[in-house]
Symmetry: C2
Subunit: 400 residues, 2 copies
Amino acid sequence: MSSYSAQQSSISENNRSRILQYLYHNGISSRAQIAKAIELTPAAITKITAKLLFRDVIEETGDMEGDKNRRSIGLNLNCAKYHVVGVKFARSLVQIAVFDLKCNRISLTDLPTVDEEHIPETVEQIRATVRQLIADDSSIVAVGMAVPGPYLVEEGRTALVSSMQGWRQVNFIKEFSEAFNVPVFVEQDARAGALAQFLFNPELSEGSLAYYLLGEGIGLGIIDNGSIYYGAHGTATEIGHISVDVNGKPCDCGNIGCLERYCSANAIHERLNEQPSIVPGCEAMTHAQACTALFAKAAAGDKAAMDLTSEVARYIGYGAVNIINAFNPTHIVLGDIISQAGQPLLDEVKKVVRERTIPEVGHDTKITLSNLPTDATVSGAAAVAITNFLEHPSMFFDVA
Amino acid sequence: MSSYSAQQSSISENNRSRILQYLYHNGISSRAQIAKAIELTPAAITKITAKLLFRDVIEETGDMEGDKNRRSIGLNLNCAKYHVVGVKFARSLVQIAVFDLKCNRISLTDLPTVDEEHIPETVEQIRATVRQLIADDSSIVAVGMAVPGPYLVEEGRTALVSSMQGWRQVNFIKEFSEAFNVPVFVEQDARAGALAQFLFNPELSEGSLAYYLLGEGIGLGIIDNGSIYYGAHGTATEIGHISVDVNGKPCDCGNIGCLERYCSANAIHERLNEQPSIVPGCEAMTHAQACTALFAKAAAGDKAAMDLTSEVARYIGYGAVNIINAFNPTHIVLGDIISQAGQPLLDEVKKVVRERTIPEVGHDTKITLSNLPTDATVSGAAAVAITNFLEHPSMFFDVA
């Protein structure tokens, strides 16, 4: 293909994608509204939408009120027609869910807690589960995967999974890219969470969005004016490995005083095991269960549980201050396991930010708890697939 | 203007800019080479270059060897024809220099050391000096200014100038935007330094570039795949205010343990004043002079001077580790006052990075000392003006 026709094809694909994205975010719209919003001629819109209608990707919804009171026909993206699979890899936790394009969850499977010794068997189990889902549901068009960072984009491998190094051996591209008869997309977990917030929460799509993943690891995904921030090889925004105390606790990554050594679910569980009176029986729990039990005791007014929660929240606040000074986001969304600590967590994080940032810089940043209905990372895995569907339509249906 | 013609005009401006940028970076080129490189039709190139030739922005250089041994005429950007003024605002230091488009320095003026009480007089003196330079040299087409961060882009004001708060009162846009008969562009100092590296050092223009400004403040400018990283209001990449010890030294910004409290020229000067035996007489020196004297003694083998330099270098290394985990750059360039410590500084920074980053993440990042002939920030101020000249040509000459 000459470079001229490659360029033409990418312009058509880009215009097609912009129409789908407009319909996705704005719902039923007339051709005239789309033409005006994305600055294409009405003729171009008519041509592209004719093909999308022919393939049933969009549908006509009947008359709607147009500009200047002219009647015009509404177009709608067929969001219920396409399903995607989202796979969330945490450290010990794998969740697989099916969603429609609007992130309505159709099914959810929790795999048994992953044991470091049996990661290859877990990989095989994921493949079998996803294959069965695709066999049972012909509307599934893509699989999205959310994996712990730092994720090396070109290699397809996570460079380090603190406290569960076995996952480092897994090459996600090699293990999964050819495993199914639909395309597979892999993204670092916090970026996947950011994509979910961006797609499903319209008020977060303006400016610069930070999704602050507070789970078994501490992660960050930044979408700055519509673009994910990756850096050179995809290992940027690793807030969990930014040191908050260069003379502090050592981390598996080689650094000293990494944020996640103080406030990840694993770090909290470690602290609980040292003081087992706070959550009796915590040794036998998963990290997530131990945190949930801690937050329940704190909510019930237990002094030791409240103190530990508040100390953890202060470290999450220190991380938020570093996020603000590094990335100057419009909005920081707190999500995953530890965000379940709720309002007291949010209040403490905001307090630390007020104390420790320059007013003109920090006080404009909105900080909220994730309000996604289901776990943000498994929704995030789905969001990775949906984003690719909207951005690269020719991968999913015949556009000729 | 209708939105359609606005779009057309921005496409023409964009094509014009791409031709100028291609000639800027590649030197003498034929129309065919430009057409191929920037994927425009030969007819479009001929049309746009005709106008640029008519305005003397570019010139024909005579026959050159073309593709397939056909002779063709070379085009060249008239880099010597246009001059720009660069103004560097450090805390106590203001430098004003004239450069051509290739950053050859034509003149340099150092203003007297700035006294916090007399900032309005300094502002007036800058205006007078720049006006005189423009009056004396009709080839000056723009003024670029590099100011300390965090710089609030929309407001035109620096939110905090640690250890010299008087500069906070200065609104750079208000004070300077209408002061001259040529356009003025203001940029945060480390971003200006990054632009200088990007423009004048071809091997740094690929991937993701971090310019790590080690001066009276500690700053960072990131150019990721050709785009400066700003965040929501321009206060991103403030590495100097990212804490390396949340229980450490308090900073003017409200945060605790900010990197610049440990390794800025001011912090080094403070340490020297506490141990005046290292650099006798340091109390009477400027921060820059005190640092230069320290590095000279260290280079001469003085044990106490070497120890302090090495301790400072370790903190600069901790900052580099945080830069790698936050931004995953291809290249980190160390510049400004403290980079004069040279090879021992570079060695220690690289050692800390080897110790404290995941090999797959950190060891690919190249770390070098700035090799710009003149101080990178005043070149950076010029680079801000030159970048705008190349990106927005219609602001500088009649394109019709």
